[in-house]
């Protein structure tokens, strides 16, 4: 039944630095999770996105929240009834590549 959802989550996990992803419904309940992510964060993630949406009540575009913590990032986006939460972790290798790219761009 949720094969399509699992497929989308697997696709998200193939993106660079992504370590976990989940989707929650309008009740804040986890519809599906893949990778290194706790399904219990679905409710809190949705609560954060709801609070953030109040900053721009007239905006029609879905708000995206990005929380940085050390080498990890948590990206939350609420679109309609569905909220997506993605955990990203910067590995030392990708961080070095990004730093090199930014240095060469500056030069």
């Amino acid at each position: 039944m949720e094969q399509q959802l699992e497929k989308v989550l697997s696709e998200i996990l193939t993106q660079q630095d992504t370590v976990g992803a989940l989707v929650a419904n309008r009740q804040g309940l986890c519809l599906g999770a893949k990778g290194n992510i706790n399904p219990n964060v679905s409710g809190i993630g949705m609560a954060i996105s709801e609070q953030v949406a109040k900053l721009e009540p007239n905006s029609t575009l879905p708000a995206t929240v990005c929380l940085y913590s050390g080498n990890k990032r948590c990206v939350i986006q609420k679109d309609g009834d569905i909220t997506g939460i993605i955990y990203k972790q910067t590995t030392p290798a990708t961080a070095t590549t990004a730093a090199t790219a930014s240095t060469s761009a500056n030069n």
């Binding site: 309008r26 309940l29 964060v41 679905s42 609560a47």
Partner: protein, 126 residues
């Protein structure tokens, strides 16, 4: 009941939007702690004498389904939702609006454990 426990649960109530009541009772339904959002709807039904024992019975029956011990029962009504957690010898009841964030309420389960331990000490016979 110490004031800091009541203050903690009051703060918790404010954190979840749409949550009306948090009630802690023993398994017979005797209320030990109750915090409610006074501006919100009147949800006195959560204090009805039959409310907690009904949950206890449902919980005992659900535990016989062969899926392990029943921990939580979520009941959705047209105007309310009730989340009851089995923390024997305590029963934790959350009453919120029908569109309240259920996942957020469920995530509170582990946060409240330390405070519940204190209340359990008052309930368990020495």
């Amino acid at each position: 009941m110490s004031d800091d426990i009541k203050k903690y649960f009051n703060d918790l109530l404010q954190k979840v939007s749409g949550l009306y009541v948090i009630q802690i009772a023993d398994r017979d339904g005797v209320p030990l702690l109750r915090v409610s959002n006074s501006q919100e709807k009147n949800v006195d039904f959560a204090l009805m004498p039959s409310f907690i024992p009904t949950f206890t019975t449902a919980c005992d029956q659900a535990s016989k389904l062969g899926l392990g011990r029943n921990k939580t029962i979520i009941s959705m009504y047209s105007n309310y939702q009730v989340v009851q957690m089995n923390k024997l010898p305590l029963i934790l009841t959350f009453v919120g609006a029908e569109d309240c964030n259920t996942g957020h309420i469920l995530a509170l389960e582990h946060q409240v454990d330390d405070y519940l331990e204190e209340i359990k000490l008052a309930v368990i016979e020495p």
